[in-house]
């Protein structure tokens, strides 16, 4: 197994709800290899999205160790964590989450504002990312002028723009029809296979999960099982 890019050791995360303490992740241990393509599955409340947010540095674990891309996230403060996110991870959300006031290319450029690139370089890189997702001709369209599938592909282009090591996708096909979902999954597969991006995707959809290399099952905040070595080629061939 290649070296792990994500190491989760004894991570616990609890929330307070109505005076009760809810343990969402319970001393979870998990490692994910660099270049892997993981589908994170489990029933609602099993801690999938919480784990994704912790790995993405959007939330803090209550205890345990979380090392992602060589960085101990529990030791980083808010600003350092923001800088780390900008450099290391790209997010794809279920609701696309593009900024409605910006065109597609401006949305893709947004994370590049945090880099030292010039305006021209940012523009060129954003256009390349849009070209990669097949939407170069929609660069100047605003989100409301795009279909759901196109919006999600712009969101993937945005996640890719800074060339992060890891792409975290939370139900990326949840709001899409079957055809659009297939296009998005093709794209994620390609990013993993051609560009060697490590992908962690939360999904309820077994068809989407089947396109990954490994399926991690969570249950009540603990690791259920891992189905390893599902070759990407096999998944692609099924589509």
């Amino acid at each position: 197994m290649p070296s792990p890019i994500i190491q989760v050791h004894g991570v616990t995360k609890q929330y307070q709800r109505g005076g009760e303490t809810l343990t969402v992740l319970d001393k979870l241990d998990l490692e994910m290899a660099e270049g892997g393509y993981y589908a994170l599955m489990g029933p609602s409340g099993s801690g999938k999205t919480t784990l994704l947010n912790l790995i993405g540095g959007l939330d803090h674990a209550d205890s345990g160790e979380l090392i992602v891309a060589g960085e101990d996230l529990t030791s980083l403060n808010g600003n350092d964590l923001a800088a780390w996110r900008a450099e290391t991870v790209g997010f794809v959300f279920q609701g696309f989450n593009l900024l409605p006031v910006l065109t597609a290319v401006k949305n893709v450029e947004l994370p590049l504002l945090l880099t030292p690139l010039s305006a021209r370089q940012r523009r060129e890189q954003a256009l390349r990312a849009l070209e990669l997702v097949g939407l170069a001709d929609r660069a100047n369209h605003r989100p409301k002028q795009l279909s759901g599938g196109q919006e999600q592909r712009v969101a993937i282009a945005r996640a890719l723009a800074t060339d992060p090591k890891i792409i975290l996708a939370d139900e990326p096909t949840g709001d899409l029809d079957r055809v659009s979902a297939g296009q998005v999954l093709d794209l994620l597969g390609r990013l993993n296979e051609e560009f060697k991006k490590t992908i962690l995707m939360v999904t309820h959809d077994p068809i989407a999960a089947a396109r990954s290399r490994s399926i991690v099952h969570l249950d009540k905040g603990k690791l259920g099982s891992i189905e390893h070595n599902r070759p990407l080629e096999t998944a692609a061939a099924r589509s």
Partner: protein, 388 residues
């Protein structure tokens, strides 16, 4: 810092942004204009000379005193120079072109008012020609008048019997500091008197005011009492006051304007700040999801704070520009109208502009600080979820 995003966000609800900016502009214009107005109303008091006293009717400013009083007042000990003032009330070309014209004793005008200086034309001509007048430098600029010009005026208070215009010869242009207005015209009382006596206009031998310059070392209070004692039991009882007191009473004649203005300005400003704050809070609520996305992408809490605050400042600055711009653009017209109504000295000064800029900054800060603080405290995950 994605400043371009601020522009896009302002355009998101362009009508709301425009209305907010417009209302801020109006508020800042009002604040500036009201300050200038209060300044104008108080200018006469500030500029009053300590050695001048004003004699008017005890009944009302608009009740004339007989010209026969002049000789007696002039004889009172301590009165060095005495001048009549009579409102002429005419207009130039159209009734909108109203400005103050005063029939005075021209030979002592500059003695009683040493703050007046002739900047163009001839004093000799002013003194020699019966129909000569002096015009204030601002008035001359307004109408492009210069020495040698003929100025026809149509009488309201003193209409000519033949229905024609009064003809004045512009002998010179003066410049003065307050309380003398640079938008007035002065001519010889004798011109009016002679026209009246010749039946060219309705005329009663009287004047609105006498202004006396008191001698150095004279007991002003004693002079005042001596004048008023003269006409204590006469048909036209006088009220004599130091110039500063007269000017103060002239302002309060129309109510406590400065306090009223301050109250109106304060209330308007407060209402506008609340409106701007409401707009910014609405904007911040709309941005919740966007800010969550940006934070997820790696933007910091500080960036979120700055974005909201700069957006608020941008709205306030645009409003400030409109407000100050409008105040400057209307300065001349308002000054002219106020001057025609005997309140000279309306002027937008640099400190008023600075005051408006400071008010705009304060509004931007007050309206933006709470939304900015909230934006900085947003947690990406919750913000995205809340906005989904």
């Amino acid at each position: 810092m994605p400043f371009g995003l601020i522009w896009h966000n302002l355009r998101r609800h362009w009508l709301r942004s425009a209305l907010t900016i417009g209302s801020l502009g109006i508020a800042l214009f009002l604040i500036t204009a009201l300050r200038a107005l209060v300044n104008s109303l108080e200018a006469g008091v500030r500029g009053a000379a300590g050695n001048r006293i004003v004699v008017g009717s005890d009944v009302s400013l608009w009740v004339q005193l007989p010209t026969s009083y002049q000789a007696k007042i002039a004889q009172i000990e301590g009165v060095e120079k005495l001048i009549k003032w009579q409102w002429f009330g005419a207009y130039y070309q159209t009734s909108a072109d109203l400005f103050a014209q005063w029939a005075v004793d021209k030979d002592v005008l500059f003695d009683v008012y040493p703050e007046m200086k002739l900047v163009a034309g001839s004093m000799d001509e002013f003194l020699v020609r019966r129909d000569a007048c002096l015009v204030g430098i601002e008035l001359a600029k307004t109408y492009g008048w210069k020495p040698g010009d003929t100025i026809p005026l149509l009488g309201n208070t003193y209409p000519r019997a033949d229905g024609g215009a009064w003809q004045f010869y512009c002998a010179g242009v003066y410049e003065a500091r307050l309380p003398v207005d640079n938008r007035s015209m002065f001519f010889d009382y004798a011109y009016l008197e002679q026209a009246g006596e010749a039946g060219e206009t309705m005329y009663w031998p009287g004047c609105m005011l006498y202004v006396a310059r008191t001698a150095e070392g004279a007991d002003q209070e004693a002079v005042i009492q001596a004048i008023d004692r003269l006409y204590e039991n006469g048909p036209y009882k006088t009220k004599t006051q130091p110039e500063s007191e007269f000017n103060r009473q002239f302002v309060t004649m129309v109510g406590n304007i400065p306090a009223l203005m301050a109250a109106i300005g304060g209330a308007v400003s407060f209402a506008i700040v609340m409106a701007a704050l409401n707009t910014m809070l609405m904007a911040a609520r709309e941005r919740t999801r966007d800010l969550g996305i940006m934070k997820a992408l790696g933007f910091t809490d500080g960036t979120a704070f700055a974005l909201m605050l700069v957006e608020s400042f941008a709205i306030a600055a645009a409003g400030g520009l409109i407000g100050v711009g409008t105040a400057l653009a209307t300065e001349s017209a308002i000054a002219f109208q106020l001057s025609a109504n005997l309140f000279p000295g309306y002027e937008i000064t640099p400190d008023m502009i600075m005051g408006a800029v400071a008010a705009a900054i304060a509004i931007g800060l007050v309206a933006g600080i709470v939304p900015a603080w909230r934006a900085s405290r947003l947690r990406a995950v919750e913000a995205i979820r809340a906005g989904a």
